[in-house]
Symmetry: D2
Subunit: 319 residues, 4 copies
């Protein structure tokens, strides 16, 4: 079978290089080139071959059937347009085209919620890492309208430092992060809030989603913890979650709280749901763990491309 030529714009950050490693091993994709500030080559992790690296301005976009953009937010959108004009289909990992960004008409590639929309899409906005974890946690509640009216969807999440990118900043040095932990973007100030709220709103839910991210002293992984009042008690929430995600290859509903190590290196979300004891109003706690660079970025991008092109959705993805 012929392989489909693909390219990665922005291949040297953590998400971009994870994506390159996946594409390099993908049975149906042929990674033709990546872009970076300076010309050269990169060796995808675990690979023996070198991939050509070009500056953005020299990238032969017309040679790629699919272009993945891992360019920074704000930089990506015009390159998505250029790739489209060159005839490529595009998966954009930046925030530029996501719900809440102001862009319109671009399918939001949280694969499990949008599979049908993606099949013929020419451009897909790949979700943020935090929204992926949070929305997979509460998807059954959103789809079935089970959240109590006027409730607060209280969401805290903790991410490893690769979520903040590979650009050197003092606050990301080992000496600053080790033996430390803190929240940031508090008060719904994180960029991902718009993406989360737009998705909740699209499901017609009358609830406030409050999101507080935290920085963990680990390299990879996100754990989201959601506390939410529901309209009526659910006898067996775990069974409901399992039914809701039945057949999903990349969602694992589990009986024990997931840990980061359960998911790092894998393109899956592990979800656990429990009813709160000793609460006068029925309340659920939902936990969701992902690898921020796989299901939260490069892995889901490949998953979306697989769906867009009618390939096996699992092709080239570590489970």
């Amino acid at each position: 079978m012929n392989k489909i030529p693909v390219a990665v714009l922005g291949g040297t950050g953590y998400a971009g290089s994870t994506l390159c490693a996946l594409l390099d091993r993908h049975p149906r994709f042929d990674l033709r080139f990546a872009t970076a500030r300076t010309r050269g080559e990169l060796r995808p992790e675990g690979s023996t071959r070198a991939v050509p690296v070009l500056p953005l301005d020299d990238a032969p976009l017309d040679e790629a059937g699919v272009v993945f953009s891992a360019l920074p937010h704000g930089v990506s959108a015009p390159w998505v347009s250029r790739a489209r004009e060159a005839g490529a289909r595009v998966v954009d990992l930046s925030a530029d085209l996501r719900p809440g960004s102001g862009a319109r008409g671009v399918p939001y590639g949280l694969t499990e919620l949008a599979r049908e929309e993606l099949r013929d899409a020419t451009v897909v906005a790949n979700p943020g890492c935090y929204p992926t974890a949070v929305l997979l946690a509460i998807a059954p509640l959103l789809r079935r309208g089970l959240i109590a009216q006027g409730a607060t969807i209280a969401t805290t999440a903790a991410s490893g430092v690769t979520g903040a990118g590979a650009s050197p900043k003092r606050e990301l040095l080992f000496a600053e992060v080790s033996e430390n932990y803190r929240a940031y973007g508090v008060g719904n100030a994180h960029r991902h809030v718009a993406e989360l709220q737009a998705t909740v709103a699209r499901h017609g839910v009358d609830a406030d989603l409050i999101f507080t991210p935290h920085l963990l002293p680990v390299a990879r992984g996100i754990l989201a913890t959601v506390t939410v009042q529901i309209a009526e008690p659910i006898a067996d929430p775990s069974a409901l979650w399992r039914a809701d995600f039945a057949g999903e290859p990349f969602v694992e509903v589990v009986d024990a709280p997931p840990s980061l190590r359960d998911v790092v290196g894998r393109n899956v979300a592990r979800v656990h749901v429990t009813a709160a004891a000793n609460a006068r109003r029925p309340t659920l706690i939902v936990l969701s763990a992902i690898d921020n660079l796989l299901k939260g970025a490069g892995g889901q991008a490949v998953q979306n491309a697989n769906v867009m092109l009618g390939l096996d959705e699992c092709a080239g993805l570590p489970r």
Copy 2:
């Protein structure tokens, strides 16, 4: 000035040894002995002197004016009684006498909420580490009745591994904890929930407190994150928190989200409060960081003893 003789029951765990180090340096206390399984001596961290260590059964409780019990939950209560009978005043760091334990009439030593009650107390139940962080976060809401009726007090907290004690368990080995993160005691199943709910109930608040603890790959420190709907918008929540804690030597209301490193090694709680943007119902996010072994255990125990004995509340405590 004469020093007051004191003793520590259970001096070899993380809380007990932190307590011994504080008492060793305390200007008004004389640490006479500690107990452990085997006779010997211990050298408090940073100290040049050796403290005698005895098995519990050989402990001369009548020689101590104040006995601190850092014995395990379930083991402590009878030794508190024996120390009382021997004439000592007691600070009990175990859960045995805390609110929600079934014990009655023992003042709950969250110092900032209970100072007056403590002055003449003979026994004080020292709070758990998580409840200390959480209750100091929301104390202004509880005291002023500001929480929305029927609200959920959604509380997540993350603790360093010393919170789980020094008894070797495989799940606490470095090889298991490093590069990992997980929730535990999910669904209001943690021992501290009763302590939290009893304290909330005592303030007559109609709200459900939901508590989800997490295990961090750090040695020391707790960060609690509380999301809660309030009855009416508060124009300047930070100012209200500052007013509420005015004059408190060990509570710092701060403008930026606190990190563990701000508080480790210090007997303080750092609290930060923000109103959530983009929420249709007024909602606050409150963050509270403490050192689990100081303000969350040994430090608060010394603070309580200082109050009980009419000493300077700050004596012997690192700020």
Copy 3:
């Protein structure tokens, strides 16, 4: 092709469970059972199937063509004998039969130095993790007699905590290991010294091997650093190392100092050699990195079994 039935004695420690995961995926081995204190089953990492677990005394040793023993030192030797009597070939991961142990006539399975001896062996003593790293570093010097007469082979090495096993000890708790580093077994006191010295002696080298191990705050990996005077200057030591290891599938001679991350998860040793500048007597510094659970334990055990049985030496091993 028929698969060869194999078994693991001691399948729940870090080395044993790594071994089980490798055997579970091996194209030519069928992992029939493992042993542990209590009957049950274990799920090899990354596997979907459950492997039966039996107490040692109930283990049907005659059902296995190859028995791997990951039992503790001192416990293993009699079980090796029983497995032999039951007709199995054995790879013993304990120290019981290694050089320096007093046992005689058992081939020492540092594969790269002993391949021919292994082909028809019925029992092989799998090397310790530290000796594997150290001996692969200096193998070219030993084999070619290049060490200066009367020299000291000054060897320091640092290991992740899985090297100390999975039995819970306070000194291995996260709270003790994080942000810490120390030597242990100083003064040639480590169990591995006899194994190292016996191997050096077997090559007829008149040099003292001094070994100082250190405990790193990482889960996996060993880096050995050897400083040694050589008899004559070597013009291009790196070329000599490459020639010496030519064709070895699991030794990588590299131009830059190796890091643990280069080798964790892989059954390889990465070796780097440099001549010391500004030394009046010719001196080399050799660095060698391995994954202590793979090339340092379970991986090398499978490599040895592959050689013993005439299979592809690389079968089932991650490179």
Copy 4:
């Protein structure tokens, strides 16, 4: 008593800010200002007061009795001259004036080896962190001429990441350092080698010092491990080390191998010496642990200033 006005050039790096914190608490020094790229103020760790910060070119050097330079190597030397011309005495923490740098006549402030020379010095070159650890380990051997003729002083050392400074570089990000370990500057290529060799040479020792540094996944601390043949066996090396360092307030000769946690936060070196068993030629292993920011930088700088000015050598230094 009047306090002596002092200043810090380069106050925002890890060494500079540690130094500012020490000087802020020093009983006899008054920290007047520090320098940085941009004007402002800094709050020394643990302090409640703000210290003025000026760009270098605006620094009123004539207001300081003692100037500490924590400027980068290559930048520092001319500012040392300017501070001298302005009448200040200077402690230079950079490498610019150290042995092996080419500069002449500047006392080398390894306090324990140079106390007399320092008393009237106007400028002192503060040692590098690695040389401090290494030279304190072997000082008794150097001073007493005990090293075997023609021996190799095989030195490996491992440092926390603050030793590499606070300038953000990708290789120092948490995501790169965690769960990793590697050597660097291999082959006597590290800047500190000249400083080490010059000091060894000054003692007339005919031995090659080989130095291999390693990067640890910890924030603070250095452990040096030295393996060296000695001319004659030493019956009780530990007693000899104790005698050699008798009366030294900041050197602790200990019976067990030191760990980083023993010394972090303290201006001390902990040294342990053992004779190697099973060696045909008498060989010692010496371990030395320091806090790279205290005894390895800012602490020793204050110790040197105390000596230069005839103050109590321990003033303002944590032991």
